[in-house]
């Protein structure tokens, strides 16, 4: 989860379970990680204001709608969970949120953004209208599977950038849906999971990391924050194990972020090498946000995101597509 009460995404690297920490502490850790990332990745943007505004909006919304954020009990025994992992069954296959809830939360975020900068008022109005239209078409239900579709629609209809729209929608979905289920998710042991997609929500990964201790590769879900181990020499998308077709590139002197690619299916994903980065706890998603320009380079090199979630455009030619 991107911004949960608990710290699923902030777990110690490679641990299968995580522990709770206070919301405010978590927020501070996110901002600290943002600061560190600014230094690590030259050319990345300081997201301090944006993150603070999002937090502020979430805090206000959470106070007004406490019941939504109450933890949901899944009632699955450890034995049943283990069985599902062994059988490669996704735990939550058809996640969806009520449209009204999405719109209220979105309005709360937009309000905070506008408070911060009046210039945002007009484009954010378009954004809300675009979301409203979309939800009306879907009978006021926002299914997880439609997330990339909505990103495309908003990017096409408004002047907002793709990265911001993607981040905003993931933030909303993960906060409203996976946040309340975190108690359940954080107890999950993914060591039996051998698939390339997320055991909790079924999404294809966009990034992951190499564990500091031994270099084991973990993929992490961009939506619910679950991570699971995956073989080093295997494409998570087409499953090829032909080492001649697999590889990675790094950019400049930066040794932390690697773009892994597969020449068989032409897909890519990002892996952060924690052997080259010291820190007790690491928020992988933060590193991803600070390396979106690496995604752009991957697109320019002819690869497409294996997650099917296009965070950036190859080149913003601005007017004509």
């Amino acid at each position: 989860m991107l911004f949960p009460k608990a710290t699923r995404a902030l777990r110690k690297r490679g641990d299968e379970t995580g522990g709770y920490i206070l919301y405010s502490v978590f927020q501070q850790k996110v901002l600290d990680e943002n600061k560190k990332c600014c230094k690590l990745y030259p050319g990345s943007k300081n997201l301090n204001t944006l993150l603070s505004v999002f937090y502020q909006a979430k805090e206000i919304f959470e106070k007004q709608n406490e019941d939504i954020f109450e933890q949901v009990d899944f009632k699955l025994s450890p034995k049943e969970l283990k069985e599902k992992m062994r059988k490669s069954e996704i735990l939550i296959p058809n996640a969806h949120i009520e449209g009204e809830l999405v719109q209220t939360f979105l309005a709360s975020i937009c309000e905070e953004l506008v408070k911060n900068n009046k210039d945002f008022e007009e484009p954010l109005k378009h954004l809300q209208a675009s979301v409203k239209d979309f939800l009306a078409e879907k009978n006021d239900i926002f299914p997880q599977s439609q997330l990339p579709v909505l990103v495309e629609k908003i990017v096409e209809e408004t002047l907002l950038e793709r990265d911001f729209v993607t981040f905003l929608l993931i933030f909303i979905f993960s906060s409203l849906y996976y946040g309340p289920r975190e108690d359940f998710i954080k107890e999950l042991d993914t060591s039996l999971w051998e698939e390339s997609f997320c055991p909790v929500c079924g999404e294809s990964p966009h990034y992951g990391f190499l564990r500091e201790e031994d270099g084991a590769k973990f993929l992490e879900c961009w939506l619910c924050g679950t991570n699971w181990r995956y073989p080093r020499i295997k494409c998570p998308y087409c499953k090829t194990v032909d080492q001649k077709k697999l590889g990675f590139f790094t950019v400049g002197e930066n040794e932390i972020c690697r773009i892994y690619f597969c020449r068989e299916c032409q897909k890519y994903y990002k892996i952060f090498n924690w052997k080259k980065y010291k820190g007790e706890e690491i928020l992988v998603f933060m590193h991803h946000l600070h390396t979106l320009h690496f995604d752009k380079l991957a697109l320019k090199e002819g690869f497409s995101p294996g997650s099917e979630l296009k965070w950036v455009d190859k080149e913003d030619n601005g007017l004509v597509n």
Binding site: P42, G43, S44, K45, L47, L50, L113, N117, D119, F120, E122, P123, V155, E156, E157, T158, L159, L160, E161, D163, F164, F167, R211, E213, D214, G215, A216, K217, P231, R232, I233, Q243, K244, L246, G247, F248, F249, T250, V251, G252, E253, L289, L292, H293, K296, L297, E301, V312, G318, L319, V320, N321
Partner: protein, 199 residues
């Protein structure tokens, strides 16, 4: 060329809206294009192999760039060492380098990358395919063994052996490989079996 709806919006957008474009983005203004940011991509491949330094047989991931090994680390997916390596294993990629007159490491031009064969009486080595090598070795071993095989010794005792072949194991091979060498040698009747390290 087709003008998209987004393109149209941009064309007709106000200055305010244009300003928002950069503000509501997560990327820096000049991440890729900036001249002071060195956008040099370093491509590499991960090639798994087995360490040759001792009989444990640790898994290694070699990083190969343009056909040259540039680094090595323990293979986390190998059950023997689970990503760990000793100091010798960690520096194994240096084996493929020599130092030039300036003291800088360069790929060793004498490193063998293909099977070489020197025919009996010949004064030079020639490159051969792996298949040819394996077939030839198998044929010659079988031929020697068949020609020299003794079922019984001079006292009439059953021995089922050949004394014309000797087999030397290697400390560069894994314990499991050396075990198999021993088995195949015994199965063929080879009795002269030794190992350089005698671990």
């Amino acid at each position: 060329m087709k003008l998209s709806r987004r393109g149209f919006l941009k064309l007709t957008g106000t200055a305010t809206a244009a300003a928002t474009l950069t503000s509501l983005s997560l990327q820096g203004d000049s991440v890729v294009e900036a001249s002071d940011y060195p956008v040099r991509l370093h491509y590499a491949e991960e090639v798994p192999t087995v360490c040759t330094f001792c009989g444990v047989g640790c898994g290694i991931l070699n990083y190969v760039r343009d056909g040259v090994i540039v680094n090595a680390e323990g293979d986390p997916d190998n059950p023997i060492n689970e990503g760990a390596l000793c100091s010798k294993g960690s520096s194994i990629f240096n084996v493929s380098y020599i130092y030039n007159e300036k003291g800088k490491p360069v790929p060793n031009p004498n490193r063998l990358t293909k099977p070489l064969y020197r025919a009996p009486g010949s004064d030079h080595w020639e490159e051969k395919e792996w298949d040819w090598m394996m077939d030839t070795i198998a044929e010659r071993i079988k031929d020697t063994r068949d020609r020299t095989f003794e079922e019984k010794d001079s006292n009439g005792v059953t021995v089922n052996r050949t004394q014309a072949i000797a087999w030397l194991g290697s400390a560069f091979c894994t314990n499991e490989e050396n075990y198999l060498f021993h088995k195949i040698a015994r199965a063929m009747g080879v009795i002269n079996i030794d190992h350089c390290a005698r671990l």
